[in-house]
Symmetry: C2
Subunit: 165 residues, 2 copies
DNA sequence: ATAGGTGCAAATGTTTTGCGGCTTG
DNA sequence: CAAGCCGCAAAACATTTGCACCTAT
């Protein structure tokens, strides 16, 4: 196991240092929370988790930090509908999100074909793609009656719990 | 020309009547503004245009109307970033938007292939697609240096002015 | 007449900010 | 020590709503 020291820098904490950000206590805590998050928390939720580790943190700081990290390219802001922005650490390959309209759960998936398609479209219109976004809103299928299923499912899927609204 | 009577119902106005909505003066004006819009105005802008035709309209009513028409499927709400929701009349075929990150202009385009792809992806993950969204953020290309251009450009593109932010 | 619209202003919910004090590099 | 943070509370926005009149149907 990873001998949990105490002042050990989290993955995102290290990224902050790399970009020359001042590391305060609260920033370190928020960085840790973000590093450990496996879902797409909104600011309120990040605040809750951070405050649980160190109570001298205010929502304002969470907002400021999350904004800063987004500018630095460390975080990405998402909008899955429902008013508040959600955040997730920037990852390497492009991936997209499918939101279960009934439960609010988010399923991530990759699709290289798609990214290429977008670039091609922009190009055809005389533009250079800067960024893009795509979200699928869907409902779980009732269960495959009979038919050939077996190895039906998927590699890519990584369901995560986040039933809030 | 279409003899602009005065109480003549606009396209969206007619749709309201079809669905049994009460046609008040302000609703008629808003419907007309929406019918004539060729861009993707936000509520503030709709209010401006409507108030120019009939000053006894409040923003609250525009908000209420736009919300109602969205529920009735007459309008679609869009989010192109920048805080406020934008609206556009529901059209037949799916179309998507490319936002010029420098000017804010919106270019619409269609892509049947794409819609099918999404449905397939959802299906593969065990879901039934309810709706989806996709936006491209891009920058105009500097001009094709030499190479084969000529018939370079595009059919699909329909650029529209809306440089606001 | 009556269900439903409307204006106005107050309320909401999320995110930003001004400011004096405190911390990091 | 200077530049940059933080907490707090107020402010800023976009959008919604309660209430007391109006008005299409």
């Amino acid at each position: 196991m990873v001998a949990a020291g105490e002042a050990m820098e989290s993955r995102i904490g290290r990224m902050c240092i790399e970009r020359g950000l001042k590391m305060t206590g609260q920033r370190r805590v928020i960085a840790r929370v973000l590093s450990e998050a496996e879902d797409h928390p909104d600011v309120e939720e990040l605040y809750r988790r951070a405050a649980a580790l160190d109570s001298r943190i205010s929502v304002a700081t969470v907002y400021r930090t999350v904004r800063l990290l987004e500018e630095k390219g460390i975080l990405e802001r998402r909008d899955f509908g429902g008013g508040r922005a959600r955040y997730e650490a920037t990852e390497d390959g492009d991936h997209y999100h499918l939101i279960d309209v009934d439960t609010g759960k988010v399923v991530e998936f990759e699709d290289a074909e798609h990214t290429a398609l977008m670039r091609r479209i922009a190009d055809r219109l005389g533009f250079e793609l800067v960024s893009h976004r795509m979200e699928l809103f869907a409902r779980r299928k009732p269960a495959t009656p009979v038919a050939s299923d077996g190895a039906a499912a998927q590699r890519a899927a990584a369901s995560k719990d986040e039933s809030r609204r």
